[in-house]
């Protein structure tokens, strides 16, 4: 209860013009990046990561929270107006948003997207604020062996969640784990895999890994694919959105039904808590569930606002869910929470069970900013700037990618004032580019890299405590719990056939 009160008292920090500027700036940048097809809010956050060195940690985390929320709803702008989802999480929004645009109801579709996002973001943030302290308390019960099993569970689930490309995901996770082992050993004074380079003794820094994986790899991908966006730009030029058509009438909201909003929020929230699932999975499952339970499934894909409401409520609720494992166990649910974890680590804060107890003062403003972004910034930004965001698609891509590359390379210099980190960022960018090009999910590599050091440390400590007896992982109740959970996920994600997708969704 103390923590909940602390979150609500943190709203006063938003009255500080400095904090408010960063939260609003973060939201606008996140929306712009999410609105441009090919760019993501993850990239925006990766580019802004170096700047967190010069900000105080509360402000940096508040800005991160607003970028995250913006990233989930910004993609709906181009998804609705030109049928090109700006972000993967808005793919399902395009199914009903674009037909509405074709019927001359584009502004209304955006209004429904904003309302769904607002509702989903708010419910997700409130659930996070209510649930996280209890999960944090429970997480204190997890001891060394349990911590190893939990981290192993997170990595295994991220790998097996990549149905159809499990070996690729497994290999990517191994590459991440390999990167994590470079440098001085955590328990003994032994350097590993440095091959004589003193720069590697402290290990591979998080900053070049994130900047390389998300920013430089993205520039290389765009250079390789040379996506022609002239058609999208031409389509965007033709779109006219009037603000007065933006507000959805109450009758429409009643027709959608609060049940659809709530159910989609819950689906999104719980999907968010799973490592590696993300906004696209949340919106897909919520959309599928809404179609399955609808009395008129055939109307979906033809401009049914229920589809937009389900998709957008779910993907924004994912934000709250994904922060639960990040804040309570130090396990990021998706790339954005991985970068948030980076902000904590850069500022010398160790995420994990003690975080909520020891650093509640730092975490509470972030959750307040998340809720503020959902309730105030989503509707306000889309209403005020929605008509202009669509024009972003027409932006010169050559200048855009040059700017991204410049910010990425100089940003990796900021951490240590060393060109070595710039070379590392380039190396990581090339690695991530080839992994992506060959169908390897980079999130598993990133998770392997982030969780690797703790995974190894807890494995060694557990076996040291049990005198080398590996049955300790099955005899300790906390560890056994995660072993059983891993087996349950393995059954549902690998052995059991996936649930049948409703025909109405499949045909779209």
């Amino acid at each position: 209860m103390d923590f909940i009160l602390q979150v609500f008292s943190s709203f006063s920090l938003l009255l500080d013009p400095f904090n408010l500027t960063y939260v609003i700036l973060g939201f606008v940048i996140g929306t712009i990046f999410a609105a441009i097809p090919g760019l993501t809010a993850t990239l925006a956050m990766a580019l802004l990561l170096p700047l967190t060195y010069t900000l105080n940690v509360e402000t940096a985390l508040m800005a991160c929270a607003s970028i995250y929320m913006a990233g989930m709803c910004g993609g709906s702008i181009t998804a609705t107006t030109i049928n090109i989802p700006g972000a993967p999480s808005s793919m399902m929004t395009a199914l009903d948003g674009y037909p509405m645009q074709q019927q001359g109801k584009g502004a209304l579709a955006l209004g429904h997207a904003a309302l769904g996002s607002m509702f989903g973001g708010a419910v997700g943030a409130l659930l996070l604020i209510a649930v996280a302290p209890f999960v944090a308390e429970l997480s204190l019960l997890v001891k060394t062996t349990g911590k190893f099993s939990l981290l192993a569970f997170a990595i295994i689930v991220v790998v097996i969640a990549q149905r159809g490309r499990i070996p690729q995901a497994g290999l990517a996770a191994c590459i991440g784990l390999m990167l994590a082992t470079v440098g001085l050993d955590a328990m003994e004074p032994v350097t590993r895999f440095t091959y004589g380079y003193s720069n590697l003794t402290a290990g591979i820094d998080l900053m070049p890994v994130i900047i390389g994986t998300f920013a430089i790899a993205e520039v290389l991908t765009q250079a390789y694919s040379h996506t022609d966006v002239s058609a999208a730009a031409a389509a965007a030029d033709k779109v006219r959105i009037r603000r007065r058509d933006f507000l959805p009438p109450l009758s429409d909201i009643r027709k959608i039904g609060f049940g659809v909003y709530f159910k989609s929020c819950l689906i999104g929230y719980f999907v968010g808590t799973l490592p590696g699932a993300g906004g696209s999975m949340g919106s897909f499952l919520a959309y599928t569930e809404t179609v399955r339970t609808s009395k008129d499934p055939e109307s979906f894909g033809k401009g049914n606002p229920q589809g937009i409401a389900a998709s957008e409520s779910a993907n924004n609720a994912v934000c709250g869910g994904a922060m639960v494992p990040m804040l309570t166990f130090g396990i990021p649910g998706d790339p954005i929470t991985a970068i948030m974890l980076g902000v904590l680590v850069i500022n010398g804060i160790q995420p994990g069970p003690q975080l909520m107890a020891d650093q509640a003062g730092l975490i509470a403003p972030m959750l307040a900013a998340l809720l503020f972004s959902a309730v105030v910034l989503i509707p306000l930004t889309l209403w005020l700037l929605g008509p202009y965001f669509i024009k972003i698609v027409s932006m010169r891509k050559d200048v855009l990618y040059a700017v991204i590359a410049l910010l990425a390379v100089v940003g990796s210099y900021v951490a240590t004032y060393s060109t070595f980190q710039m070379f590392m960022a380039l190396a990581m960018g090339v690695l991530a580019f080839y992994l992506r090009r060959n169908g390897f999910p980079v999130i598993t590599m990133l998770l392997g890299y982030i969780l690797g050091p703790n995974l190894e440390e807890f494995l060694r400590r557990s076996l040291a405590l049990s005198n080398g007896d590996p049955t300790t992982f099955f005899t300790n109740p906390d560890s056994l719990f995660f072993v059983v959970l891993t087996l349950i996920f393995f059954y549902f994600l690998v052995i059991r056939k996936p649930a049948e997708i409703p025909k109405a969704v499949k045909t779209k």
């Binding site: 191994c174 784990l177 082992t181 590993r192 895999f193 250079a223 040379h226 990618y401 100089v410 040291a464």
Partner: protein, 149 residues
């Protein structure tokens, strides 16, 4: 077909995994007096990586036998971007922020959009470099290298 672009990537990954495992083996015995040494975890990871790379190579070889891969047109722009970033990092300290960044941004704009209107692109590069300088140095207090002083 033993060689296509995807297979080359997998062979490289396999070679790196084998090299990693060999380096891990050189760290010493994995278990000493019932306790795990710094060699144990890398050996486990290296072994698993080799296993996954092996599975993927076998899968790809089977796929290549059943259906020959469709050759897509080759583009090299991404390789030129890698070269540009590399040269930029090399020149960053000796040439200073302004000159190296200006040339880098100009090179990337040309790589992404061709060699037309070079003067306009040069002006855009100078503006981008200047704005980024203001952001890093003035707004966020980052010291950037200069050619003189």
């Amino acid at each position: 077909m033993l060689m296509n672009r995807q297979l080359v990537f997998l062979y490289v990954t396999l070679a790196v995994s084998v090299g990693y495992l060999v380096s891990a083996l050189r760290l010493g015995a994995p278990v000493v007096d019932g306790g795990l040494t710094p060699a144990f975890f890398p050996m486990l990871v290296g072994g698993t990586a080799i296993l996954f790379a092996g599975v993927l190579i076998v899968q790809k070889l089977r796929e290549a036998r059943d259906a020959p891969p469709v050759e897509t047109p080759r583009t090299f722009t991404h390789l030129w971007v890698v070269v540009a970033v590399f040269l930029y990092v090399v020149a960053f300290k000796p040439l200073g922020y302004f000159l190296s960044s200006g040339l880098f941004v100009f090179a990337l704009i040309v790589l992404f959009s061709g060699r037309e209107k070079l003067l306009v692109k040069a002006v855009i590069s100078a503006v981008v470099t200047g704005v980024a300088y203001l952001m890093f140095q003035q707004l966020f207090g980052v010291r950037l290298p200069t050619l003189w002083g």
